[in-house]
């Protein structure tokens, strides 16, 4: 622990903070007495799965609780100011000037009707920290420090005119503009690609160091927090599990829960070469209107194996899936299944062809009709494809629920009454219900916490072994690829860069893009980012 007798430079001190939240017509404990001490210039990483209370705790550090939540106990001292007793007006004076908040979705946090520079300097100007012109000049310097392209002119753009990674950096500049003492980063890179994430992380780290700002960094990605934080606090069920300096935490976690978090990334499937090609995509071109998104894509998928398609967003991964499912007929080339060509358009395919290829989506909560129960969701493909009704249908639904490690008590639940991992399991059961040959998994684990991801990946592997299912696994996460794939296809800007067995692709020599992609995946080594940036040409 970093507690020293010298208390002078303590910026934030939270003692025994308790927060209750209201849902289902009663109050629940969300935070059950957590302490947090933060010194000037220090960065603490808060990690835990969703629902662990990390965001709630992060916001409580500002003296803020969301609607539906209330602070029921404990003390929060920010630089000697008691935020529990402070009036709303007093807290508003602190917020945005001495304490800043960087949200997960920068796109949703900017006002689309105002220029970036105006929003960046708003807090500093309106609170009269310094004259407007000075703030603007300072913002340009911040843009430069954050390595934004054209720092002099980028502020003149509107939020929709810059990329997601750039927007996240502008938001950091906005938080930095009034020179706060404390910044709270709430999952700032979760929505970004790995290659963009690296740029944003290094920019954030540099600027926080430069201005000696204290920060609370909230994330569920351990590798990311390892790059940023001086010490790490692990939360679970609103309680602290463990707190330790980053290096010690990574090398010697004490509690079993922390160890289980750390071991998630160790999952790796031994690769097996497949012979019998079940699905092949031959020289496919595809376009959205005039915009050509796939160029001569050729992929062959062997039966009972997993082919992972990797690439950043916009590389054409999901478009390939849409071509296979028939949602987007290709402009050239063809898709063949079991050696026979598939009709290009969805409406020309037979029920049998549809049944053979199933799909699982990234966001399980939008992939299930919120007004249908779990039973209705799983039973529909049984009735539609296999004509199962009544008792036989019910027995099969229970069977399927057991396969995905749930039980019949889930049948009457609505999707809103399930957790993220359970939702994704129901989606898997729905796909399984059709007895498919091929399941297309579109980023199925990227919206989930690591520990839940591991559960889903293990389930998919087990199902593959039992039923000899073929997966086309679309992802941007290399750890997931290592865990599940036999073969890898690397895509970049609508083209296939590389294709082959996992061991071939993940071993040098790499083509340029594969190299960039692989090196951008954060590793659980606190020096990874530093070393990476040193190795990359500026």
């Amino acid at each position: 622990m970093t507690i020293e007798p010298n208390r002078k430079d303590i910026l934030l001190e939270m003692r025994d903070v308790r927060i209750d939240g209201f849902s289902d017509e009663r109050w629940h404990k969300i935070i059950k007495g957590v302490d947090l001490t933060l010194r000037r210039g220090e960065i603490v990483g808060l990690i835990g799965e969703s629902g662990a209370g990390k965001s709630t705790l992060g916001k409580a550090a500002m003296g803020y609780t969301q609607p539906g939540c209330k602070l029921v106990g404990g003390s929060i001292l920010f630089d000697g100011i008691d935020l529990v007793k402070a009036s709303d007006a007093d807290k508003r004076k602190l917020w945005g000037t001495r304490i800043a908040y960087v949200a997960q979705s920068a796109a949703a946090s900017f006002n689309p009707a105002h220029r970036l520079i105006d929003q960046t300097v708003e807090a500093a100007t309106r609170r009269k920290i310094r004259p407007d012109a000075e703030s603007r000049a300072d913002a340009v310097e911040l843009f430069r420090a954050l390595q934004l392209p054209n720092p002099e002119t980028i502020g003149g753009r509107y939020p929709h005119q810059v990329s997601g990674g750039q927007l996240q950096r502008v938001m950091t500049a906005m938080a930095m503009s009034p020179r706060p003492d404390l910044i709270i980063f709430d999952e700032p890179t979760t929505a970004l690609d790995v290659t963009t994430q690296v740029e944003v992380l290094s920019a954030m780290r540099n600027i926080v160091e430069e201005f000696h700002t204290a920060a609370i960094y909230i994330t569920h990605d351990l590798a990311v927090v390892a790059q940023m934080a001086d010490f790490i606090k692990v939360l679970r069920f609103g309680e602290e599990v463990e707190e330790a300096p980053t290096r010690q935490m990574l090398t010697h976690p004490e509690k079993p829960y922390t160890k289980s978090l750390w071991s998630v990334r160790a999952l790796e499937k031994p690769e097996v070469k497949g012979e019998d090609i079940v699905l092949s995509i031959d020289h496919v071109d595809a376009a959205y209107g005039p915009l050509k998104v796939l160029h001569d894509v050729t992929i062959s998928i062997p039966r009972g194996r997993t082919v992972a398609v990797v690439g950043e967003s916009g590389s054409g991964k999901s478009t390939t899936a849409r071509v296979i499912t028939g949602l987007l007929p290709p402009t050239a080339g063809a898709v063949s299944f079991n050696g026979k060509p598939l009709p290009a358009a969805l409406k020309d395919r037979s029920k049998d062809q549809l049944q053979r290829i199933q799909m699982i989506y990234q966001r399980a909560d939008t992939a299930m009709n919120p007004r249908q129960t779990v039973y209705e969701i799983i039973a529909r493909p049984l009735e539609f494809y296999l004509g199962l009704k009544g008792k036989a249908q019910e027995a099969r639904v229970i069977d399927l629920l057991k396969m995905i490690e749930l039980d019949e008590s889930f049948m009457d639940r609505l999707p809103s009454e399930l957790s993220g991992g359970q939702k994704q399991r129901i989606c898997i059961a729905r796909a399984l219900a059709a007895n498919p040959d091929v399941i297309i998994c579109d980023e199925v684990t990227s919206a989930l916490d690591q520990i839940v991801q591991e559960g889903i990946l293990k389930l998919l592997l087990r199902l593959q072994k039992e039923f000899n299912i073929t997966y086309l696994f679309i992802t941007h996460d290399i750890a997931t690829v290592k865990a599940i794939s036999d073969e890898i296809v690397v895509m970049y800007r609508g083209k296939v860069v590389e294709q082959g067995l996992k061991s071939e692709i993940l071993a040098p020599p790499f083509p340029d893009y594969t190299q960039l992609l692989l090196s951008s995946v954060p590793e659980m080594d606190p020096d990874w980012l530093t070393n990476l940036l040193a190795a990359r040409p500026a």
Partner: protein
């Protein structure tokens, strides 16, 4: 908190989910949470429905029965007096509830069937059909609806059927717009795509995947539309092309007795007579809107801060 599980288990992720309630229990809970304004609305609407259903029993005279005294004063034999040709005003009011409300309900249902159905088709299809329907609706909406209705009624004649069909079609344009707008948002959801990939037909996607998810705004709109239809019928009747005599109807009752207002300085009750059916319309409109407001508040997810 007791011992936490240290290993991961899928079924334990969301532990205690409250017991699923039966429909009856849920309705009971819902009614308990209703504010006084909604209760007022429900009671008034309930009374109106009761009056409409039991019109034959509670009305003192026949619907078109003519008494020898026109413009009889209030009290005595005729509680609210008689109209210009000697029909009992109270009886006409009671039968008016049945006719006006029945026609309004039929019209609203028909307009939702047309507008809602086509709106859903347009939202799912999104191709030339959507363009065709939407532009046609634009054209219809560009013509002032009351004048258009007047014109059509004078072409096709003022029968009850043509009244229902014409108002329903003109009103369905608004329903179409609303349905299409909310359904388009639902139609891009992954679960609709999943249903398409499964090979489901248009009917299934419309009824089972999209409709349940857009029902709240549609029900709210139904309440509002019902009021507007009601007012349109009353307005048309007032202009003489709506419900034709001797069928009792509140709109035409206002028109027929409107001249009584000028006798206010001699007999206040006589002046109130034409206002009675107007008040009946106003009360029902207010009551229905109270219920709709409550429903909107319930389903819009707006919650009072705790």
């Amino acid at each position: 908190m007791s011992e936490q599980p240290q290993t991961y288990e899928a079924a334990a992720e969301v532990g205690a989910v409250r017991k699923r309630r039966t429909r009856l229990e849920r309705t009971g809970l819902l009614l308990k949470s209703a504010p006084p304004s909604a209760w007022f609305g429900m009671i008034v609407v309930g009374l109106y429905i009761l009056v409409a259903l039991l019109a034959d029993v509670i009305a003192p005279y026949g619907e078109a029965q003519i008494h020898p005294v026109p413009f009889a004063p209030w009290g005595g034999e005729f509680m609210f007096g008689t109209d210009q040709i000697g029909r009992d005003v109270l009886t006409r009011l009671i039968y008016g509830a049945r006719n006006t409300m029945g026609i309004a309900l039929a019209t609203t249902l028909l307009s939702f069937l047309i507008g809602g159905g086509l709106g859903l088709v347009a939202a799912i299809n999104r191709s030339w059909l959507d363009q065709l329907l939407s532009r046609f609706v634009d054209v219809l909406m560009a013509i002032p609806s009351l004048i258009f209705a007047l014109m059509l009624l004078s072409i096709f004649g003022s029968t009850v059927t043509s009244l229902i069909v014409i108002i329903a079609i003109l009103d369905s344009t608004r329903v179409f717009r609303l349905t299409r707008a909310v359904a388009v948002n639902v139609a891009v959801m992954d679960y609709v795509e999943a249903a398409k990939l499964r090979g489901e037909g248009l009917g299934w996607i419309m009824r089972r995947e999209i409709l349940p998810n857009i029902l709240p705004p549609l029900v709210a709109e139904f309440g509002l539309r019902f009021c507007f239809v009601f007012l349109t019928i009353a307005a048309l009747s007032f202009l003489g092309v709506g419900i034709q005599p001797p069928t009792a109807d509140w709109g035409s009752m206002v028109r027929e007795n409107a001249s009584l207002i000028q006798f206010a300085k001699y007999d206040l009750t006589a002046a109130i007579t034409p206002l009675l059916p107007a008040a009946a319309i106003a009360l029902l409109t207010v009551a229905v809107n109270f219920i709709v407001d409550w429903f909107l508040h319930k389903t819009s997810g707006l919650r009072d801060d705790h």
